[in-house]
């Protein structure tokens, strides 16, 4: 590869805290995800009313991506080719359970397209793409645990073959009683090297 790849920026959302490059941007005492994420949305000045229609996984992924992408001043200069490569453990199971609950009793049968559409993990990539006008490569992987190596290799492939100029990638998982987002932006800019040790180190912060 001609240019060395770096992690330009990274964002964590977990334990009722949103942080950028390891520094907290917003935290709240509440344990409840919805209370927390709505407060974070307001505090971070997100201004995107579609946010409230999203399921939990999309809210989580969208906000983490927004924290990283609104820092990208180059985005306003015109269309940018930023690929999105996300992964998690629970796929869209949180919303899958809601859809299943709506159809399990024939006497109380209420399936809804507004819920069903979120029963795919990659919908959150669609939400991010719409907001930031990204007509780019996207894929959603399911791993048992965070896999720095598989993400790294895939990201390198997209950049090396010029299918993307930057890659927004990471882990965004929402399950019954837990949530965790760790997204990072890979490009030729920045100072943190894009390698397995660094990705794993940042993930564990």
């Amino acid at each position: 590869m001609s240019t060395k790849l770096h992690i330009e920026r990274y964002c964590h959302i977990k334990n009722s805290t949103v942080s950028l490059n390891g520094a907290p941007l917003f935290e709240i005492a509440s344990e409840d995800f919805l209370t927390f994420i709505k407060a974070a949305y307001k505090e971070l000045d997100t201004k995107y009313s579609k946010f409230f229609k999203m399921d939990n996984l999309s809210k989580l992924a969208f906000l983490a991506a927004d924290v990283l992408l609104k820092e990208d001043t180059s985005l306003s200069e015109g269309e940018k080719n930023i690929a999105i490569v996300l992964s998690n453990r629970a796929s869209s199971l949180d919303t899958d359970r809601k859809h299943q609950a709506s159809i399990s009793d024939p006497k109380n049968y209420y399936p809804s397209p507004a819920v069903f559409v979120y029963t795919l993990p990659n919908i959150c990539i669609g939400e991010i793409s719409i907001k930031h006008k990204l007509f780019s490569e996207n894929s959603f992987f399911i791993f048992e645990t965070f896999s720095a190596d598989l993400l790294k290799v895939y990201t390198e492939s997209l950049l090396k073959t010029n299918k993307a100029e930057k890659v927004l990638c990471g882990w965004v998982d929402f399950d019954a009683d837990s949530y965790e987002a760790f997204l990072y932006l890979v490009s030729s800019e920045g100072t943190i090297e894009h390698n397995n040790n660094e990705i794993t180190r940042l993930y564990r912060l």
């Binding site: 999105i84 453990r89 629970a90 796929s91 199971l93 899958d96 359970r97 859809h99 299943q100 709506s102 159809i103 399990s104 024939p106 049968y109 399936p111 809804s112 397209p113 069903f116 559409v117 029963t119 795919l120 993990p121 990659n122 919908i123 990539i125 669609g126 939400e127 793409s129 719409i130 930031h132 006008k133 990204l134 007509f135 780019s136 490569e137 996207n138 894929s139 959603f140 992987f141 399911i142 791993f143 048992e144 598989l150 290799v153 895939y154 390198e156 492939s157 997209l158 090396k160 073959t161 299918k163």
Partner: protein, 390 residues
């Protein structure tokens, strides 16, 4: 960059339990779609392409206790078994496994399922297949809506070209479930008759189930006779709507352009298009716009949804496999269910089985979340001759 091929393949579906039988049925315009009355699946009768449970059990019992594996796991094991056997490859650390599915074992969420809820986790499905066959690497599960099957081919190619693997087995599958039928019905997207892609009287999709498996490899020796080289592939988002396709076909158009750029070919090189064609009003219209923007309106095109229904995460791979056989047999297969063109731009729909020298085909797919994938394949007549010239 290493050349990468799609080689041995298998389909387990309503139209047969191997690619040869399935393709023979397609050549005879036989559809797997039937009217189903099963209140356990859906309250009223509906059309779908289902694999007969007795046929699955009969084929599967030699591999293990049918009670120990879910319906989807049995389907995936059956198709993957064929491909591993045909390839004669040892499953060492250079061999990867990719599973593409939209909903996996979603039926275990049903109240009366004999399986625990944890089986619904897609990594659990990956582990079942990994352990059944003894793969050394963990399965990579890809769940990217209805482009998953063809995106899996692209992902396999990328990992091979990056040197992670030399060979990747792909297994894709989805089943017809309460979950899927109720969901698509809530969108009012289900057809009251077997689906009619691109037709003026189309009323929506027909759901189907199957599993399809294939070997993606960088090794030019020992390729299947119907093997193809992956010339280019790309996936671009519409950035428009999470459940409706773009009015301008933006993501699909860009995917096709990007795949053609990698393949270093012009639109005129493409002999055949295996399109997505779900038979919803918006999807087929969007495709017609994208194909016209890409100057592909005169290339013979079919949708295979009239044979299998829409098989979600498996559709992209099964349709790629049928496309490979179409090239190998120099035969274009009918776009089943087509009556009269019902999109606003011209398309060249294949209305009868026809012999044609075909060498390069384009496979496309689009799905919820605004995702689109295009992949371009070229048949390998005689790989040894190709070796020398390259």
């Amino acid at each position: 960059m290493r050349k990468v091929y799609v080689s041995y393949n298998s389909i387990v579906s309503a139209l047969g339990f191997d690619s040869k039988a399935v393709v023979e049925n397609i050549a005879n315009e036989v559809s797997g779609i039937r009217k189903i009355s099963d209140p356990k699946l859906f309250p009223t009768p509906f059309y779908a392409s289902l694999v007969a449970s007795e046929a699955i059990s009969e084929a599967f019992h030699q591999f293990g206790a049918t009670e120990a594996y879910t319906r989807l796991e049995q389907l995936l094991i059956l198709s993957l078994q064929h491909v591993i056997e045909a390839s004669k490859l040892p499953l060492n650390d250079r061999v990867g496994l990719i599973i593409s599915t939209t909903k996996g074992n979603i039926d275990v969420l049903e109240k009366d399922s004999p399986f625990p809820e944890k089986r619904a986790y897609l990594a659990a499905l990956g582990n079942v297949l990994k352990n059944f066959f003894g793969f050394q690497n963990d399965a990579i599960v890809l769940s990217n809506a209805c482009v998953s099957g063809v995106l899996a081919v692209a992902v396999a190619k990328r990992y091979i070209q990056q040197g992670t693997y030399d060979h990747v087995f792909i297994a894709s599958g989805d089943i017809v479930s309460q979950f899927i039928l109720s969901g698509f019905n809530s969108f009012q997207a289900m057809s009251s008759l077997p689906c009619k892609p691109y037709s003026n009287d189309r009323t929506g999709i027909t759901i189907g189930e199957l599993s399809a498996s294939a070997l993606v490899t960088s090794e030019e020796k020992n390729l299947a006779p119907e093997a193809v080289e992956i010339l280019g592939e790309a996936s671009c988002n519409d950035a428009n709507h999470i459940s409706g396709p773009s009015r301008t076909g933006e993501g699909l158009y860009r995917s096709i352009q990007s795949a053609m750029k990698e393949a270093a070919i012009e639109a005129s090189t493409i002999d055949y298009i295996s399109a997505h064609g779900t038979a919803t009003s918006f999807n087929d219209e969007m495709e017609a716009i994208a194909f016209n923007r890409a100057a592909l309106q005169n290339v013979p095109l079919n949708s295979l949804k009239g044979y299998f229904g829409h098989t979600l995460g498996a559709s992209g791979l099964v349709e790629t496999i049928v496309g490979m056989h179409s090239l190998h047999q120099n035969t274009l297969f009918t776009s089943l269910g087509f009556s009269e063109l019902g999109v606003s731009k011209p398309l060249t729909i294949i209305t009868e089985v026809a012999p044609k020298e075909v060498s390069v085909f384009l496979k496309t797919a689009s799905g919820f979340g605004g995702c689109n994938t295009a992949a371009i394949f070229q048949k390998c007549h005689n790989t040894e001759t190709n070796n020398q010239t390259n």
